[in-house]
């Protein structure tokens, strides 16, 4: 009978015991208990238990990282839902899109959400990169997280690119045809040297990407696999490391003098927050449990907990607010704006103009000078250059990290660079539109000349020279980096604007879309 009694008691206490096995504590009612909860919960422990007040200020981050994360979550959920109906076959893909739009309950809304969140994610990731750069947050010990950010940027763009083919409409087909031929564009060099027969990395890349010599069923299934499996998993992995590094690198970057500026630390609820630290002989000795066993030191060690507040609720409320705001914006956009769907893909008649999504249009403008330089050469230079910034600019300036535009001197450099890059970018574009380029002047010129010397490489050379000039003038690698990055971001947006609004049929220049010839 005793066994039966025990069983009954176990049954009665089932809710409590299951709950205790899941969460080892009750509803935390004090800051200390909440911090303990954050520390011991798998999903919460990606956050620090305490965050600095400066981190929570809107102007520190503009919430961009969390917005990007929210976009990614929205994309995962809406993407999986779209997969329920989407069929990755050339003869069914377009029809399944039509089904999703016109038949599937909430299908149109879900597709709109997926499309606008994708555009939003690219935009926000770019802005996030600019924020981290301009606040000097890539400086040591956060170098690697900046490099990891470049990986995340590339994965984000790759996800957009692979997703672009799936609707199998005219825009999809021709944008991917152009993209695949950019992968093949090293032939521009090998052809000019006459070695394509023996050594053809371009052709290999294209074949690997498309599984055929043109965009078709093989390409569609490859892009689908990349889009729904390979790239999201890779991005999630990199994202995990990216978040983990934020903690390991000592939280978000903040100015050296931030604690002095904030004044004396306020007591929370009239109590002393760190009783242990208030003893006369106590030193701030925050450390992690493993610290006793592993070599090296965490950047967080020796930094006192002054001016920090518990992550629960301060940080969590802020994050939830940002996530809700992002979702609301995307839902509103999806409600009012339909994602475009052109006619079914037609391999014998290209769209005119065939434009890539907006974030690739700057590149498209550059490939209209040289396929290899604009599509492979310059993007590689930019990505490698951006990734190396924290390793080439290791300067430790007072009041630089965590300060927008690197203080007054940096602000001046940024403004000058803005002026310089706007003027030079517009001037070169205007010149190219008006007078053409080498091929128009010397029709028989070797392609190698054009590959090496075109408006795109001119931009790169000019901005590099400008940055070196700033380096010489200021003797500061941070100022040179600010100059270069400002030029990059300005020309990115000018080229994007130019290709979006001022390029028409046959990639000719038009002041307005209403001037496009009717055909």
């Amino acid at each position: 009978m005793n066994g039966f009694k025990t069983f009954l008691q176990n049954l009665r206490e089932l809710p409590q015991t299951v709950r205790y096995s899941l969460i080892r504590h009750g509803t935390p009612s004090s800051d200390r208990a909440r911090s303990q909860a954050v520390f011991s919960n798998f999903f919460l422990h990606i956050q620090a238990t305490r965050v600095h007040k400066h981190t929570l200020k809107f102007a520190t981050t503009l919430g961009l990282g969390i917005i990007a994360m929210a976009m990614f979550l929205i994309l995962c959920i809406s993407g999986v839902l779209l997969m329920v109906y989407y069929k990755p076959a050339t003869d069914q893909a377009y029809d399944s899109l039509k089904d999703i739009i016109f038949v599937v309950p909430t299908g149109r809304m879900m597709r709109n959400i997926h499309r606008w969140a994708a555009h939003g994610m690219v935009l926000v990731v770019l802005l996030h990169m600019a924020r981290v750069f301009f606040t000097g947050s890539y400086k040591g010990p956060r170098q690697f997280n900046w490099a990891l950010g470049m990986v995340l940027l590339i994965l984000t763009l790759a996800l957009s690119f692979t997703g672009y083919l799936l609707p199998w409409d005219q825009l999809a087909y021709w944008a991917i045809t152009i993209g695949a031929n950019i992968a093949q564009s090293p032939r521009e060099i090998t052809d000019a040297l006459g070695i394509t027969e023996q050594f053809d990395p371009g052709g290999m890349q294209k074949t690997l990407l498309l599984g055929a010599s043109s965009v078709g069923q093989e390409a569609l299934i490859r892009f689908y696999v990349l889009h729904v499996a390979v790239l999201p998993v890779a991005l999630l992995l990199a994202l995990g490391v990216h978040f983990w590094r934020i903690r390991k690198d000592g939280g978000l970057a903040r100015p050296d003098d931030v604690n002095e500026k904030l004044g004396a630390d306020r007591r929370e609820h009239g109590r002393e927050i760190f009783p242990a630290l208030q003893q006369a002989d106590a030193k701030p000795t925050r450390t992690y449990g493993l610290m006793a066993m592993v070599r090296g030191k965490s950047p967080a060690v020796d930094r006192g907990p002054e001016h920090t507040v518990p992550a629960w609720p301060n940080l969590f409320y802020a994050e939830m607010a940002v996530a809700m705001f992002s979702t609301a914006v995307i839902v509103a956009l999806a409600y009012f704006l339909d994602a475009p769907l052109k006619e079914r893909a037609n391999p014998s008649v290209p769209e005119n103009p065939a434009k890539a999504p907006w974030y690739f249009l700057g590149l498209q403008e550059m490939v209209s000078y040289s396929a290899f330089m604009g599509g492979v050469g310059i993007p590689s230079i930019v990505v490698i250059g951006l990734g190396l910034i924290p390793y080439l600019d290791r300067e430790e300036r007072p009041n630089d990290v965590g300060v927008w535009f690197g203080g007054p001197e940096g602000r001046k450099v940024c403004l000058l660079s803005l002026l310089f890059s706007v003027l030079s970018c517009v001037a070169i574009l205007a010149f190219t539109v008006k007078y053409g380029w080498l091929r128009n002047w010397i029709p028989s010129i070797s392609q190698l000349w054009i590959t090496a010397f075109n408006p795109g490489t001119l931009f790169v050379g000019l901005y590099a020279a400008w940055s070196l000039l700033i380096l010489k003038r200021t003797n500061s690698t941070r100022m040179a980096a600010l100059a270069l990055f400002t030029c990059f971001i300005v020309s990115f947006f000018i080229l994007t604007y130019f290709a979006t609004f001022l390029r028409g049929p046959n990639w000719d220049f038009y002041w307005s879309q209403s001037d496009w010839p009717v055909h």
């Binding site: 031929n181 564009s185 052809d191 000019a192 074949t207 490939v367 990639w507």
Partner: protein, 159 residues
């Protein structure tokens, strides 16, 4: 403070270290071989495509001075005084299909490349002229174009 084990590679490798390194090395080597071997799969050895050779009819189908379009294959077959030649309408820049204008020149809608009637590049970003494709004659007299076989520019099949 001296850090234990620092600079141990300056000393001769000890037996224990050697075995450990050998284990690590063989692990890395086999993993790399496995990954590289797996990567062979996505590289197709046979392209899943229709026969690249298409019959275009007897030579007298093409009047001297004419240009005939085969839109499905993005192909233009010309005939002039010295013979027949086939030009691929696919732009050598980034693979869009060029459009033949009234004057016989080809314009690419994607990035504005321009080609003369005989395929030579006259403007825009295209690195070279339009491709000339192999035209041959079957025993029956019918002409065949091989879309995969490029021939030097200006080569013609005398008829």
């Amino acid at each position: 403070m001296s850090i234990p084990n620092e600079g141990r590679f300056a000393k001769p490798v000890e037996r224990r270290d050697f075995l450990g390194l050998a284990a690590l090395g063989s692990f890395c080597l086999t993993s790399a071989a496995a990954i590289l071997g797996s990567l062979k799969l996505p590289m197709p050895s046979v392209l899943p495509e229709a026969d690249s050779r298409i019959k275009i009819g007897p030579p007298d189908r093409f009047a001297p001075g004419s240009a005939t379009n085969f839109p499905e294959r993005s192909l233009w077959v010309h005939r002039d005084g010295s013979g027949i030649y086939a030009i691929s309408a696919i732009c050598t820049h980034l693979g869009c299909v060029t459009k033949r204008e009234k004057d016989g020149s080809f314009h690419c809608p994607c990035h504005g490349s321009k080609f003369a009637a005989d395929g030579t590049v006259t403007g825009g970003p295209a690195p070279k002229g339009l491709e000339y494709l192999k035209v041959s004659r079957l025993p029956s007299g019918e002409l065949v174009v091989d879309l995969q076989k490029k021939v030097p520019a200006q080569e013609r099949l005398a008829v």
